[in-house]
């Protein structure tokens, strides 16, 4: 057991080193994403100034601005690159090597990515939260930070990450069907981006569509944690959405196992 832990620790540390080795690259990547946030920020500001209402679909201007930046923070924390890694291995055939290794592939990959995430979170979460709270203070004149909301938000992000992790791993197996992963991944990102509320809050959708989206696992990825942080999900609603997240973690975990089993058989039949 301790031996296994040591292996995973090695992967964790490899993930962290990745960030520091390509630090300049990493900083610019983040800067680029922050830039995109600012584009949204200005658009929404103009939208609120152009409209007559103080609130649009339940969002005030300050909430909307906070929503944009929180969405960035959350999606950075819960993102997962499994699709590409698995897909590449399927394409070049190294996936067959996975079967003869004594440690679980999913686990090593998870730990390597976690190492990466630890660095990201350490560098991002504090400035982002301070920034977000500064905006809220600026609009309302009082400190709105609630530690319980924040802690539940963190828990919700962990669930969200796991959902995303298992979903991306499962999706990676599409490489058996579509050879051009980059294109497939782009389509997936577009759909997931929209359904998880990254493009626009789900409450802006026509209400029937909104109800369906809220049930899908994608809302659990980014929308749910952000709504928790904002304090919009409270009491029994909060518990309901956390339960839904847990449900999707289990379902997608099961799905990834199932797909793995099927493709193992597929590979054995094909002879690698």
């Amino acid at each position: 057991m301790t031996k296994k832990l040591r292996i995973y620790r090695a992967f964790l540390s490899a993930g962290m080193q990745e960030v520091s080795t390509y630090r300049v690259n990493w900083i610019f990547y983040m800067a680029g994403n922050v830039m995109a946030c600012f584009v949204s920020y200005f658009i929404w500001k103009a939208v609120f100034l152009s409209g007559n209402n103080n609130s649009l679909n339940g969002f005030t201007m300050s909430q909307m601005i906070v929503y944009i930046f929180l969405m960035f923070l959350t999606s950075t924390m819960t993102s997962s690159g499994g699709t590409y890694d698995i897909g590449e291995e399927i394409r070049d055939g190294t996936i067959a090597m996975r079967m003869i290794k004594p440690i679980s592939y999913n686990a090593t990959f998870l730990f390597q990515e976690l190492g990466n995430k630890i660095m990201t979170i350490c560098l991002l979460i504090i400035p982002m939260v301070i920034g977000v709270e500064a905006v809220r203070y600026n609009f309302t004149g009082e400190v709105q930070f609630e530690i319980t909301n924040f802690l539940i938000y963190v828990v919700s992000c962990v669930f969200a990450y796991l959902i995303n992790f298992f979903f991306n791993i499962s999706f990676g197996f599409i490489a058996f069907v579509i050879k051009y992963l980059w294109g497939a991944n782009m389509m997936k990102n577009c759909i997931v981006g929209f359904l998880s509320g990254t493009v626009i809050p789900l409450s802006f959708l026509p209400s029937g569509l909104e109800k369906i989206c809220l049930l899908l696992p994608f809302a659990s990825l980014n929308y749910t944690p952000v709504m928790i942080y904002l304090g919009i999900y409270k009491g029994s609603t909060l518990l309901y959405y956390l339960g839904l997240q847990l449900f999707w973690v289990l379902v997608l975990w099961g799905l990834s196992k199932l797909i793995w089993k099927i493709s193992t058989k597929h590979l054995t039949v094909q002879g690698g």
């Binding site: 540390s13 962290m16 960030v19 660095m119």
Partner: protein, 333 residues
């Protein structure tokens, strides 16, 4: 033909500290230092010569080759081919040379081989009629016919290497750089490639600069050797000069029924050989003894050996170049 004078190259290298704390630290305070990859290299190559350019891993071979092929800009020093200099006019310089990197192909991966040649023809502005002539020559020497219509990604390693060599020769360069041209190939294919290189050199008087770790390439092809280590020249001369200069290593082969011949012979105790000067290997009844004939003469060795064990058969020969170079790499010079 080729003049290399006082070539030097420095790189900047980032230093990483180990451990998790280290990765955090280097995130904010990256450290870097200057590394001298090539210190001071000079040599000349006359037209039509095949030069073996060798040295242990990390000696700076690739860096030199990359400077000679116009890829890297030297920190100082010059290299010229027919008076042309890559830093002054790269485009006209590279028209004079052909380059093959064994580990990296220059062919268009997804297209039939013929298409690559078509593009290169345009790139190097080879006229139609000389292109035809050229292709039939290369076809004859490298036997491309069988796979010229196959996509490059489907070629075997040996075919790919032949195709790459042909690609580098399409524009009739005066100098051909071959970096590890036989890497990963089987014995028969290696042999074919060597024959082709020798043939091209002979027929066209193409100057060849050959880097390789397979010393058989050097022994069979090279007229001369330049050896470098830690970024500096350590040897420049012919193979026989190398043999006479460094260690008169001889190999003694004997057949005997003595079980542990090394112990029975006791060379080390008797002649006081140092570790590097003697090596004994036994396989069944055949024993191979490598020794430095400067320390002990061949006749002394023979007389002593015949006295100590019961010998069925015995022969002496020069050690191959590989042995000499192995010793040089190990000790440094």
């Amino acid at each position: 033909m080729i003049k290399v004078e006082n070539l030097r190259k420095e790189f900047k290298k980032t230093v990483k500290e180990p451990g998790l704390a280290g990765s955090f630290k280097s995130l904010f305070h990256p450290k870097s230092e200057r590394v001298v990859a090539v210190n001071d290299i000079s040599f000349h190559v006359p037209k039509g010569e095949i030069l073996g350019f060798i040295g242990p891993n990390g000696a700076g071979k690739s860096t030199v080759i990359k400077m000679l092929t116009g890829i890297l800009t030297p920190t100082s020093g010059t290299c010229t081919i027919n008076g042309k200099n890559p830093t002054e006019n790269r485009k006209s310089y590279v028209k004079e040379i052909g380059v093959v990197f064994g580990q990296r192909t220059q062919l268009w991966w997804d297209l039939p081989l013929r298409e690559t040649y078509g593009v290169l023809k345009e790139m190097y502005e080879v006229p139609d009629d000389s292109y035809k002539e050229r292709m039939s020559f290369l076809n004859e020497v490298l036997e491309l016919e069988a796979f010229i219509t196959s996509p490059v990604r489907t070629l075997s390693l040996g075919q790919r290497m032949r195709a790459d060599i042909a690609a580098s020769l399409l524009h009739s360069p005066k100098v051909l750089f071959l970096d590890e041209p036989t890497i990963g190939l089987d014995v028969v294919v290696k042999d074919n490639i060597r024959k082709a290189i020798a043939q091209i050199n002979e027929r066209e008087q193409t100057t060849v600069i050959l880097t390789t770790h397979d010393l058989a390439d050097i022994e069979l092809l090279a007229d001369r050797i330049v050896m470098i280590d830690k970024g500096s020249n350590v040897f420049d001369g012919t193979i026989s000069e190398l043999k006479s200069r460094y260690g008169r290593i001889r190999e003694l082969h004997l057949e005997t029924n003595t079980k542990n011949a090394e112990k029975a012979l006791g060379y080390r105790e008797h002649f006081h050989f140092s570790d590097d000067d003697l090596k004994v290997e036994q396989e069944g009844s055949s024993v191979k003894v490598r020794f430095n004939s400067d320390t002990v003469s061949v006749s002394d060795m023979l007389a002593y050996t015949l006295k100590m064990v019961n010998v069925k058969d015995i022969s002496v020969k020069d050690a191959d170049i590989e042995e000499i170079i192995r010793r040089l790499y190990r000790q440094g010079v």
